[in-house]
Symmetry: C2
Subunit: 197 residues, 2 copies
DNA sequence: CCTACCGATCGGTAGG
DNA sequence: CCTACCGATCGGTAGG
């Protein structure tokens, strides 16, 4: 019972912290700011969390786990590389859309993690990126994609677009995450140019 | 004479600050850190600069001015939208490549500007983005680009890719800024998919 | 969850 | 460019 209450309060703290970190950045956010947002004293925060950085760790690694899970599901599918790329993109966007605030913190503030967490985080990220790269290479191998693609550039472009989405995507707008993913995938795969018929 | 010496020392301070801001973020960078990098006392910094934020302002607005100039040159040209887009991308990348450190700070730390500078900065940025959007719209109008493009998505994707480049581009690698721009433009315009002949 | 408080560090100034 | 220093604020702890 007490555990349940504490957990939920802890989650409230982390949620509010995410909003604060997104708005001001991790380093410029003070525990006093956070306490005020929750209507308590700064010292009281430490009944729920161990440290400021523990909050950042939760946010970053929880997001990382969700991204990982999403990609894993896609990799199992027996479809073309183009399809896989599209589904990977849609999955990524859906994960972000579930919590745009946490997604923004994940992207912008992870560098304030201390060691060894930072190292671990970066390893997870490079692994995730490389798995997208593998999908693109697969598409080149099967002849679906051009053979002269710079895969590093391609995957970084993809990643940049995905990671910046929390900065401008409006969840109350009239485009739903799945459609956004479809369109982004189409743009990357087919380009802006009108195909000649 | 004295002015010349001061100016150059001021520029040294700003350069070192850019490195520091990129590495640790603006808020987490202290004037004492910066002083140490320069081999002087923290208080001595204030003979060269008015405040910590003045450094950030210099970095952000100087970069903004360079981007603006580059785009202006491209807009004057009488070429297709696709060409214009490509040249705009190359111009942007060249500006970044001239000072990757400042470019990274420009992208990641501008939000720590205080008002009214922040507002002014964001206005410059939205103007710049909109001018790229106009080029894309021009391409749609002339039939060069698909008519069903989500121009907002297209321009944000472009922008994301451009802005993340300082994070992974290796100036000592074997790809030169112009080529990188060419390839990025080709990818966005023509896509990854192999064209059917 | 609070009061009371700690040592450390911050950006910046005075005066030379 | 330095010494000496300021008031403010930081993350966090002790003890209830």
């Amino acid at each position: 019972m007490e555990t349940v209450v504490n957990l939920s309060r802890k989650e409230q703290v982390i949620r509010k912290a995410a909003e604060l970190f997104r708005e001001k950045g991790y380093a410029a956010s003070s525990m006093r700011d956070l306490a005020q947002m929750l209507g308590i004293e700064a010292a009281s925060l430490y009944s729920h969390i161990k440290s400021k950085e523990e909050i950042l760790q939760s946010l970053c690694f929880d997001m990382a786990a969700e991204f990982r899970k999403s990609l894993q599901d896609v990799e199992k599918m027996k479809v073309t590389a183009g399809e896989k790329l599209k589904l990977g993109i849609i999955g990524h966007i859906k994960v972000m859309a579930k919590d745009l605030v946490a997604a923004a913190v994940f992207m912008n503030e992870h560098r304030h993690l201390s060691q060894p967490y930072l190292r671990e985080f970066l390893l997870l990220r490079i692994n995730y990126i490389n798995r997208f790269k593998t999908i693109i290479e697969e598409g080149i191998a099967t002849g679906e994609f051009k053979e002269n693609i710079d895969t590093k550039l391609a995957v970084m472009t993809l990643f940049s677009s995905l990671n910046w989405m929390p900065m401008w995507y409006d969840p109350d707008g009239n485009i739903v995450p799945t459609d956004l993913g479809e369109q982004l995938a189409d743009m990357l795969i087919n380009g802006l140019r009108k195909q000649k018929l």
